[in-house]
C-alpha cells in the first residue's frame, strides 16, 4: 500500500499560550488540561514534579511547553478526558513562562507500574520556540531504584546517560517533590526518544 507523506513538523513558536495553556497564563479561553493531573476529588497522595528546561548555555527557557502523560496508581491509563475534570486525569500541560525562574510544577500522584519490566514513569512531550520537532522523553523516580534496574526502556539507554531520566526526590518536608530538569545540550543533555 502506498504511504502518504506525513505532514512536516514546525515549531510551536513563542505564542502558543493563549491557545494551548490559556488558563495558566490568564487568557480568556478555556483549557482542556492544566498542570493539575488529578482533580480535587481524585484519590491518592499528591506529589509535585518540578524543574526547568535549559538551553545549550544553561539558561532556563521561558517559552517551552511540556505535556505529561502517565498511568494512575494501579498502572492504568485514563481513557477519556471530560470537563469538568473528575478523578484521575493523567494528562498535564504547562508552559514555562509564568514563574519568575521559568520553572514548571505539575501536581499529580505517583504512577504505578503497568507491568513487569516497566518501572513507574511519566511520558513527556516537549515543545518550544527553536525546536522544529516535539521531543519525547520520560521521567523515572529516584526512589524506585530497583524497578528502574529492570525497566525495558531504561535498559536500551547507555548507562552513563540514564541519570538524565531520573527525577530526584527533594528532601523538603510537605508534599513530596521530584526535581526533573531537562537539558537540551551539554554534558547533562537529556535523553530523547524517537517514537
Amino acid at each position: 500500500m502506498e504511504r502518504l507523506r506525513r505532514t512536516p513538523s514546525q515549531t510551536i513558536g513563542p505564542f502558543f499560550a493563549y491557545g494551548l495553556t490559556a488558563r495558566q497564563y490568564g487568557y480568556d479561553f478555556n483549557s482542556i488540561v492544566t498542570g493539575s493531573m488529578i482533580a480535587d476529588n481524585g484519590p491518592g497522595n499528591r506529589v509535585q514534579i518540578s524543574g526547568k528546561v535549559l538551553d545549550g548555555n544553561d539558561a532556563p527557557i521561558s517559552d517551552a511547553m511540556l505535556e505529561c502523560w502517565q498511568a494512575d496508581a494501579e498502572g492504568r491509563f485514563n481513557k477519556m478526558i471530560r470537563l469538568p475534570h473528575d478523578g484521575f486525569i493523567g494528562l498535564g500541560r504547562l508552559g514555562t513562562g509564568t514563574e519568575p525562574d521559568f520553572s514548571f510544577r505539575f501536581t499529580t500522584i505517583k504512577p504505578g507500574s503497568m507491568r513487569e519490566g516497566m518501572a513507574p514513569h511519566i511520558n513527556i512531550i516537549l515543545f518550544m520556540r527553536g525546536s522544529l520537532h516535539h521531543l519525547y522523553t520520560r521521567i523515572y523516580f529516584s526512589d524506585e531504584a530497583e524497578a528502574n534496574q529492570s525497566d525495558e526502556l531504561l535498559k536500551i539507554v547507555p548507562e552513563e546517560r540514564r541519570h538524565t531520566l531520573v527525577a530526584k526526590r527533594s528532601r523538603k518536608s510537605g508534599i513530596p517533590e521530584y526535581l526533573f530538569d531537562i537539558h537540551m545540550q551539554g554534558a547533562k543533555e537529556t535523553v530523547f526518544f524517537e517514537i
Binding site: M1, R3, L4, R5, R6, T7, P8, S9, Q10, T11, I12, G13, P14, F15, F16, Y18, G19, L20, A22, Y25, Y27, F29, N30, I32, D55, G56, I61, W69, F77, N78, K79, M80, I81, R82, L83, G90, L91, N123, F127, M128, R129, G130, S131, L132, H133, H134, L135, E152, L153, I156, V157, R161, M184, Q185, E189, V191, F192, F193, E194, I195
Partner: protein, 228 residues
C-alpha cells in the same frame, strides 16, 4: 525502522532559524521498539469543546465583529496509510488580520483587535474531518534577522490516539511572496513544503460570506501488520 523521514521533515538543527542552535539535541535520539512505543493517548469528550471553540470569528467578541477577511479552513486528519482519524483533538492559534498576536510578551507594533483572540479547538468527526472559521492572519515581523517577516500562517496542534500521533505544525497560504525568505518554512525539504500549504477551494466557499481553504494532516501511522 527509522521513524523520522528526513525527505519530508525538517532537521533538529537548522542554523538559519537561529533559536535552533542552542535548543536542538546534539546526541542521537534513541530509537524505541514498537512494543515500547505502543502508548495510547486519551480521547476527549464532547464536553471538552465549547460550542464556539471552532469559530474564531465569534469566540472572542466583545463589542462587534473582528476585522479582516473571514475564511473557512477545513480538511481531514488521517494516518499515512490513508485511514481517517476520528475524534482527534485539533487546536489552533494565530495572529489577527494585522499580523499581531495577542500574547502578552509580543511587541510587534501592529494593532490588537478587541474582538479577536485567535485561538480555537475542535474534534475531528467520524470521517476524520475538521472545520473552523477564522480571520485570515496577517504577515508577522520577528527578530530572527534584519527585516524578518513570517508568511501568513495558522499554528496547528494535533493530538491523536497514540503517543506517536502528536503533531505541531503551521499551515501556510498559497502563493505567499514571503516563502523564500522564511527559515522556518524552508527548514522543510523543498519537495515537502507543498504539504504545509493549504489549497484554495472556490467550491467550498460560503457564498457571500467566507472564502475556503483545504488543509489535510497526515500523522504517524498506527502500528501496522506487515501485510496491511
Amino acid at each position: 525502522m527509522e521513524t523520522i523521514d528526513y525527505q519530508v521533515q525538517p532537521p533538529y538543527l537548522y542554523p538559519d532559524y537561529k533559536s535552533t542552535v542552542f535548543r536542538s539535541p546534539t546526541k542521537p535520539l534513541i530509537l524505541v521498539s514498537d512494543k515500547l512505543k505502543d502508548i495510547s493517548l486519551p480521547a476527549f469528550g464532547e464536553s471538552a469543546i465549547g460550542p464556539l471553540d471552532n469559530d474564531l470569528t465569534k469566540n472572542a467578541r466583545k463589542n462587534g465583529e473582528p476585522l479582516g477577511e473571514r475564511i473557512k479552513v477545513s480538511g481531514k486528519v488521517q494516518d499515512e496509510y490513508g485511514h481517517p482519524l476520528p475524534h482527534v483533538l485539533v487546536e489552533i492559534w494565530q495572529a489577527n488580520a494585522s499580523g499581531r498576536y495577542i500574547h502578552k510578551s509580543e511587541i510587534h507594533d501592529a494593532p490588537l483587535d478587541p474582538n479577536f483572540l485567535g485561538a480555537g479547538r475542535m474534534l475531528t468527526d467520524k470521517e476524520g474531518r475538521y472545520l473552523l472559521y477564522t480571520i485570515k492572519p496577517g504577515a508577522y515581523q520577528w527578530g530572527n534577522h534584519y527585516n524578518a517577516w513570517r508568511p501568513n500562517h495558522i499554528h496547528f496542534s494535533v493530538m491523536g490516539h497514540q503517543i506517536g500521533h502528536r503533531l505541531v505544525t503551521q499551515m501556510y497560504f498559497p502563493g505567499d511572496p514571503l516563502f523564500e525568505f522564511d527559515p522556518i518554512f524552508n527548514s522543510v525539504p523543498k519537495s515537502a513544503r507543498e504539504l504545509l500549504i493549504a489549497k484554495f477551494r472556490m467550491d467550498w466557499t460560503d457564498p457571500e460570506f467566507a472564502l475556503a481553504y483545504e488543509f489535510n494532516l497526515v500523522l504517524n501511522g498506527r502500528l501496522q501488520t506487515p501485510f496491511e
